[in-house]
């Protein structure tokens, strides 16, 4: 009773295309409030997608992933203010620096498994934040003020909106490519059983490090845009583990290792945030936490898996039983 896969893919593609067109048109149709809300959704969607590369596909629990966000933000800010570069090249170099950091750190750290790797990445995050707070080039604890955008506010917010939309679409495309490329096969094999992957000929070290560098590049690029958006950054703003937690939950909620999952998770969680924040001004963190717990308990494989099972109760219960964390 399943639709042929080709047709389902075409329908999904068409739906995605329609959403992208709608997103492109939105800033001209809706108020500045929505432009900024959706910018936030796009940013977190992009972050969740980039995390998906190392966690969802490769199976390494990078809790400290936001360190690359901060590295991208700080490199962009430093190059724009201290070296007088334009946003474009600063932004790209920010991503590259984050990727290089992951490449270097990956060689020792990716030998660690599971919980140890997760803790190590948190350690790296804390260390980098402290270093950034104490190095003069990065403004020390005083932060960096970026050059102001030359143009009216709505143009600025629209530019940020489109920048974030572009990276979101690009990173979703990356996930789509990973799901069907040789590189992606290697990563999924590593996640499933690293030893089996190795004896099948997969150079596990090389692929793990590349995956982490790719994830870091993506996260770093988002960080660069964020710095430009905020116009003023300080270490605790961008090297903040709570940001990581947020997009981790989005990725899990939507479905780690899927193409659209992280994006779906970002949309759902941001919608919930916006809805709940309006209703429960004081208890909203509590309610959000509760919602998150319930969702993790009852949708361990994520929202996209429920969609795949067409929400049929029997299939969902069976899925739950097999995948309960």
């Amino acid at each position: 009773m399943t639709r042929p896969p080709g047709r389902r893919a075409a329908l999904t593609g068409a739906a995605a295309g329609a959403l992208v067109v709608a997103a492109l048109a939105l800033p001209w149709l809706a108020s500045g409030y929505w432009v900024r809300v959706l910018s936030g959704v796009f940013m977190f969607g992009a972050l969740a997608q980039s995390l998906n590369v190392i966690v969802g596909f490769t199976g390494y629990a990078d809790f400290g992933n936001v360190v690359f966000f901060g590295l991208g933000a700080y490199t962009t800010a430093a190059l724009m203010t201290k070296a007088g570069w334009a946003f474009g090249p600063s932004w790209v170099l920010g991503g590259c620096l984050a990727a290089a950091a992951a490449g270097l750190l990956g060689l020792p750290l990716l030998r660690l498994r599971g919980h140890y790797f997760a803790i190590a990445t948190i350690g790296v995050l804390e260390a980098v934040r402290e270093i950034t707070s104490n190095v003069a080039f990065f403004g020390g604890g005083m932060g960096i003020t970026l050059p102001v955008f030359a143009g009216p506010p709505e143009v600025f917010y629209r530019t940020i909106y489109y920048l974030l939309l572009v990276v979101l679409v690009a990173f979703t495309g990356l996930a789509w490519w990973l799901a069907r490329s040789r590189f992606g096969y290697a990563l999924r094999a590593i996640k499933a059983d690293e030893e089996a992957a190795a004896v099948m000929g997969v150079h596990t070290t090389r692929y793990k490090v590349l995956a982490w560098a790719l994830s870091a590049l993506c996260t770093g690029l988002v960080g660069g845009i964020y710095a430009y958006w905020l116009t003023y950054i300080e270490p605790p703003f961008v090297f903040d583990i709570l940001i990581s937690v947020k997009y981790w939950i989005m990725m899990l909620l939507g479905g780690a290792g899927t193409v659209l999952g992280p994006l779906a998770g970002a949309i759902i969680l941001e919608s919930l945030s916006v809805a709940i924040w309006g209703q429960f001004l004081r208890g909203h963190m509590l309610v959000l936490g509760l919602v998150i717990s319930l969702v993790i308990l009852f949708m361990p494989t994520g929202f996209m898996d429920l969609v795949r099972l067409r929400f049929s109760p029997a299939a969902v219960v069976d899925n739950l039983r097999r995948n309960r964390i």
């Binding site: 069907r180 490329s181 040789r182 096969y185 290697a186 999924r188 094999a189 996640k191 499933a192 059983d193 030893e195 089996a196 992957a197 190795a198 004896v199 099948m200 000929g201 997969v202 150079h203 596990t204 290792g257 097999r322």
Partner: protein
Amino acid sequence: MALLEGRGLSRRFGALAAVDGLDFAVEPGEILGVIGPNGAGKTTLLNLVSGLLPPSAGEIRFDGEVISGRPPHAIAARGVARTFQIVKPLRGLTVRENVALGAMFGRAGQGAGTRAARTRADEVLALVGLASRADDPVGILTVADLKRLELARALAMGPRLLLLDEVMAGLNPREIEWAMGLVREVHRHGMTVLMIEHVMRAVMGVSQRILVLHHGRRLALGAPESVSRDPAVIEAYLGRRYGAAQADSV
């Protein structure tokens, strides 16, 4: 020249020598059976050959080249494929994707794209009788089918040497016959096979030579008939009833 050779091969875990000064050779195109009691060092031997463990002493050569101490993926790329005693299916991938992975990263597939790999996977799945399950997730397969998958994945790599670790375990008599037939078929096409087995009629029926391990050392090496009558082998492993049955069948 032997396809696979071990010289003075040892692997210690603390004070325990799992493999102890072992010399062996596997000739190209032969089926070498490896038998011995539990703890004899058979799986450790396979782990050493496939690169999951480095030796404590000695060396292993494949086609004249030293492979001991090299990483597993490099050894796999040279043409060595193995199965695991406790199967390791790749969860989260379908049956076809599991086998396609072997086709992509094994010796035969260096640089192959996903489409070519999937085509090759379908061929191998047909060979092992899993074609009807190609799109299924591995989580729903039976034990026998998981063993078929393990074998298919190894075969898809296009290896020159196939290392089998107790493929017959858990199979019923009909499935054992089928597995023996498959090993013979693959061998007929030029494969060299090293198979660890406890199912005596399978390994005796298929192998050209048998290597008997005991406490990590070579106890006997020779044709199945002579090994199964060797008193030391009977004492250490086969048991007197088996020995008597063999003697009666002369």
